[in-house]
Amino acid sequence: MLKIENLNVGYGEVQVLWDINLEINKSEVIALVGSNGAGKSTLLYTISGLLQPMSGSIKLDGREISGLPADEILHLGIGQVPQGRRLFAGMTVKENIMMGAYLRKDTERVKEDFEFVLSLFPQMGERLNQVAGSLSGGEQQMCAVARGLMANPKLLLIDELSLGLAPIIVENIYEAVSQVIQRDMTVLIVEQDVLLALEQADRAYVLDVGHITISGDAKELMDNPTIKEAYLGV
């Protein structure tokens, strides 16, 4: 579904990603892990069209999408739940969630999907008219995931969902995400918490200071000695 080849990305002159190759097949759950500053968010921003690559290619179902504006990439089916949630703080929960459906014209389906995300996150239903900035961290993350789902993307990129949240809430949200995955959405999960990500994923890539150093089956990677030592602290 998504194929990234020889991708190089930087901010101005400073290169951050080197020669990235990554492939996502339909209905797969892929984890992208790596420590602080490795370049995970940079890669997601590039896929979504917020950053332009220096060179390399990103293909969605065979079509080159690097260089396209963000709205076209979303329209083609790649959505993102960005790191830090990035809700519209002054807008209500409902307005935030509906912003996810901004490009959609299929009003009836949008209504159904809205009901569906509320069933995934019942707490959101109780807070629809509350301003998003006043939610707790966990609720904000639920709202952000709900907004991301409303675009009904083929491929959803989720960046550091667990950051700063209590484990029970993280589990809760990932439970909702797994329900979406069963509905045939392909997902790329970015996490600093390697174990958490590997548990969710079919396959995984390890990003180390801008290079992909390890990739493979997620369950096998849990036993990989390098990963154990560097990321799992065993």
Binding site: L74, F88, M99
Partner: protein
Amino acid sequence: MNSLELTQCIVNALLLSGTLALVAIGFSIVWGILNIINLAHGAFLMIGAYITYWLFTLYGVDPFLSLPISMILLFIGGYLVQRYLINFVIRAPLLVTFLLTFALEIIIMNLAVVFWKGDLRSVTPSYAGMGFALGEVQVPYVRLAAFILSLILTGLLHLFMTYTKMGNAIRATGMDIDAAKLQGVKIGHTYAVTFALGAALAAAAGSLISISFPIDPTMGGAYTLRAFVICVLGGLGSIPGVMMGALLYAFIEVFSGIWAPSLKDAIALLVLVLVLIVRPTGIAGKAFYH
């Protein structure tokens, strides 16, 4: 000042506050969303006033009927100015857009002087001088109508921002531009529509002002200044804040006008300086700068 004069002043200030709110709201959304302090705002207002004047003088169009015409024309003009001029420097520091809109204002004003001459002109429909007495207080029809129309337009803007997709996109863009892009918002178009709305509201204010006051090509500057002060008073980013700011400012202007009629603009600046010193976040408590 006796109680009759006092009541008259209060009525005048109330009537003035509506128009001032209209002037300031367009200025405020452009500042709040695009982070542009649009010094050409008053020039748009002046063009709106002249559109009403010419339609009335040349074709006998009722000034209130020309309101939508001047709004539509300035909406289009504003869209083009943002899309094909300001957009190129939108990433530049505030000072650059500040200078650009300053230049724009001078150019528009100069062209207006060349084409329309510098004379004071008035729109004088048959009902211009009419009014009614509320007790002994005089209420001119045109100012009351301008007040009501200003409130209606402000209300419509609020509805637009709250209940339409484009309005939500504008607010979202103002809050987090990258997050807005990730929802598929086309920023260039959204910015242009925001700027166009600002220009259309300025034009509406200009049209309404032209019915109550004489106009000339330099009239805009004083309104830009007032819009600026009102935004600082009311805080950016909220329509109620701007309305409060406008109300307060109208009272200051009307009452200070009694004691020092020739110092109108100086008083605006004095208020600005005082607010910046005493309460730099504006009366509404929200920072006016980003």
